[in-house]
Symmetry: C2
Amino acid sequence: MTDLTNMTPTALGKLDAAARATLFTDARTANTFAATPVSDSELSEIWDLAKWAPTSANTQPLRILYVRPGQGRDRLVQHMSDGNKAKTASAPAAAVLAVDTQFHDYLPTVLPFRPELKDVFQANEAMRTPSGMFNATLQAGYFILSIRAHGLAAGPMAGFDATGVDVDFFPDGRWHSILVVNIGHPGPDPWFERLPRLHNADTVRWE
Amino acid sequence: MTDLTNMTPTALGKLDAAARATLFTDARTANTFAATPVSDSELSEIWDLAKWAPTSANTQPLRILYVRPGQGRDRLVQHMSDGNKAKTASAPAAAVLAVDTQFHDYLPTVLPFRPELKDVFQANEAMRTPSGMFNATLQAGYFILSIRAHGLAAGPMAGFDATGVDVDFFPDGRWHSILVVNIGHPGPDPWFERLPRLHNADTVRWE
């Protein structure tokens, strides 16, 4: 890693138009996938990139279950909403994104100068649970963009039976699923027409 | 925008190493900022890029309050945790990220083929509130990476008095703040040593 400690302000890089298109402006949620496989190393690299983006107190509560074609995918499809079953059945890979409800166990490792935060989180479930959910969801956003950064299409889906997934795949009760993301190369007629974005007059204010 | 409808799988772009470094591997949370200003057009462009990334049912519940130096920033600093006040006071811009609790009002616009979803959300607060929070938080992740995509440093902070911010800046009660993000060019000694990331053995499983 480059040592940026003494960098000047102008040293920060910028994304060019092609990279912005890959991540944001041209990228689309894929609903169908080509048969082209996605390798385990591609899947690993998606997380190995996404994991560097920031979380509060470096807590990193997101967990990943990669599901490949076979019995695991067949089980996962059963937990998807009816409108999503065919999408996941055609995807060469899927990721079940989950929050580790005991993420604070790792605080002494991830924030070595404040190990006592582990006990603060342990004692305060009303702080711990929303913090885990918030930071895992931030990381889910990073994960979706990292899929795109690797030249693959993402198909994130909130429509699935989270309790069913958790009982089936995370029986010890520690991980709670928050999102399923299909991963692959786009198939035939892969996406809808681009849906509208809200006007800035409705979304942005200034002080 | 390029028409990608008939693209072949190999047509999806990939980020090169420099772009990955800008977004993920070299980028760092900034704690101090140079005096170099950030223009309103830079701030607008951050959101104009981030807003293209996906949300469930295209709901787009995230809202942005951009705060520039002056009375607005002085008020915002007062709501920050003690450890964050100096950071925001030195930042040439900050964004208060908020969820629009009435995001479903826009459903007929953002999802024109399912306008009835507005009433489904209206009738079901137990679905609406977590959905808004989840999707706004995904968008907060996109927003942080979009800051970096524009050659700027982000300083996201969960440590602030959200109720105080909401009463002060969003008095009609509709927007609820979820994160404050300082934006600027890094100043002197801008960040800590890179903190560790968890091992994949603890975060990744395979099926």
